[in-house]
Symmetry: C2
Subunit: 271 residues, 2 copies
């Protein structure tokens, strides 16, 4: 059986990279040569994937960008392409699903059987019965929202409960109550390095998916020092727009490769 956390651990070692390339395809930002092509989303993302794979430990397609344009078939083709051409680099489907019982089972079927993702992001607001159905898919990863990098993240996540903010309760639940499968991870935004450090202290070696560097302005040095594990891994540091839209011209793939390499190297300076 393939295990997400084991595959990820092996990818960190083999690639020497903590960079997760986020795939948020917006056709209005594509180069002119792709305009009007029915499979432009697939083609753009495939080129980005092939160009950045040497510098990445994983890819994270955001499902909304595909669903808004009836492009689920292109998302299926894209994930199949990653598995075929870049085996060992796990694909995290960023879907932030959150539901229970038979509905959660349907979402898990969507993510793992239809799209064949290796892991998925989920929302903890409905509690453990919204996490559990995903775990029935043995070896698949479940990455729970904990502390998000947006300003409004604090509306709920920073509320004090039992002497600590809610996101710390979520980290504690994920690490100490919900993780019998050892396939959980957490989303913690790079805009709050001190909070990454706090979460790391709560969750041990659990993988952290960290958005918010690049376009969102998180500090790479502070992020890496706060989130690394004893062996200098433990993080999927995500960058989307700063890499995939590094150039809006015909050199988009090469520009993405350069941006990915620079980001990987900047991260590695501080490991």
């Amino acid at each position: 059986m393939t295990s997400f956390t084991q595959t990820l651990g092996a990818a960190w070692q083999r690639t020497g990279s903590l960079l997760c390339v986020g795939l948020d395809p917006e056709p209005t930002k594509f180069p002119a040569a792709l305009a009007g092509r029915g499979d432009a989303i697939f083609e753009f993302c495939r080129d980005i994937v092939d160009a950045t794979a040497p510098y990445a430990c994983s890819f994270k397609p955001q499902i909304a960008y595909f669903a808004a344009r009836r492009a689920e078939d292109q998302l299926e083709a894209l994930i199949a392409h990653v598995h075929e051409k870049h085996p060992g680099l796990p694909v995290i489907l960023d879907a932030k699903r959150g539901d229970i019982g038979s509905t959660a089972e349907q979402y898990a079927r969507e993510a793992f059987e239809r799209f064949k993702a290796d892991a998925v992001t989920v929302n903890p607001y409905m509690g453990f019965d919204s996490i559990e159905p995903w775990l029935a898919h043995k070896g698949k990863g479940v990455i729970v929202l904990c502390r998000t990098s947006n300003p409004g993240g604090s509306d709920l996540q920073f509320l004090e409960t039992g002497g600590r903010p809610l996101y710390q309760v979520v980290a504690d639940l994920a690490a100490n109550k919900w993780n019998a499968s050892r396939e959980l991870g957490l989303v913690v935004g790079a805009t709050f390095p001190k909070e990454i450090e706090t979460v790391r202290a709560i969750v041990g070696d659990m993988p952290l998916l960290i958005p918010g560097i690049g376009a969102q302005g998180g500090d790479v040095e502070a992020t890496v020092k706060a989130g690394r594990t004893a062996n200098g891994t433990g993080m999927l540091i995500n960058s989307s727009r700063a890499i995939i839209y590094a150039s809006k011209g015909e050199d988009y793939a090469q520009a993405a490769a350069t941006a990915a390499k620079e980001t990987r190297d900047r991260i590695n300076t501080f490991r």
Copy 2:
């Protein structure tokens, strides 16, 4: 401009019903005559819609059941059918989305432009910037998860913060900070009638989407008395499985109509 809350208010008055029929299509539960048909999901749901429309104030398709089976096209066709054949009955897309910025904009495009839903369910864990992008679609409804009817709902929603449980903070934020558009609603489970009463006291006349009667066992009398507004409306009381699977035989549509009528009447006994 069509307004979700105005359409809903008119539907309550015209239909005399507070029943929302939930559409969670599982092909394994369909009657034999539909087996193997490529459009079985659409056909089943269309038959349920046409049979139950006289007794309902709205419909709530759950997107996961369609997405798990590559049946987004059937969901589009189903919602178009409701709009064409049953105008004035709003369609709530149960998707429980939760994301921010440009990603939330893509999800809103999916729900409102692609699927043409009148309202959508969303998750509040990421705060106001996960609600705001939906509100840019004027007149569309946004129904925020508040207190869910599952056992694990208490894991986060019942945590005390500032002297009250988290779900009350969400109700307060939704009613008093996030609702400039007057198009917000809240999800509050029927399994907690006292909490429905508390939420109603916080939110005034805001529409409440209430799952959990029927298969989940919520008490109809206690629910209605706790959640009704001064004019005896204010609630979308959802029933899914108890109606759509009232019979697994060829009489499924008639059985659904009977179950919907009985549920509407039972609700109306206590208004």
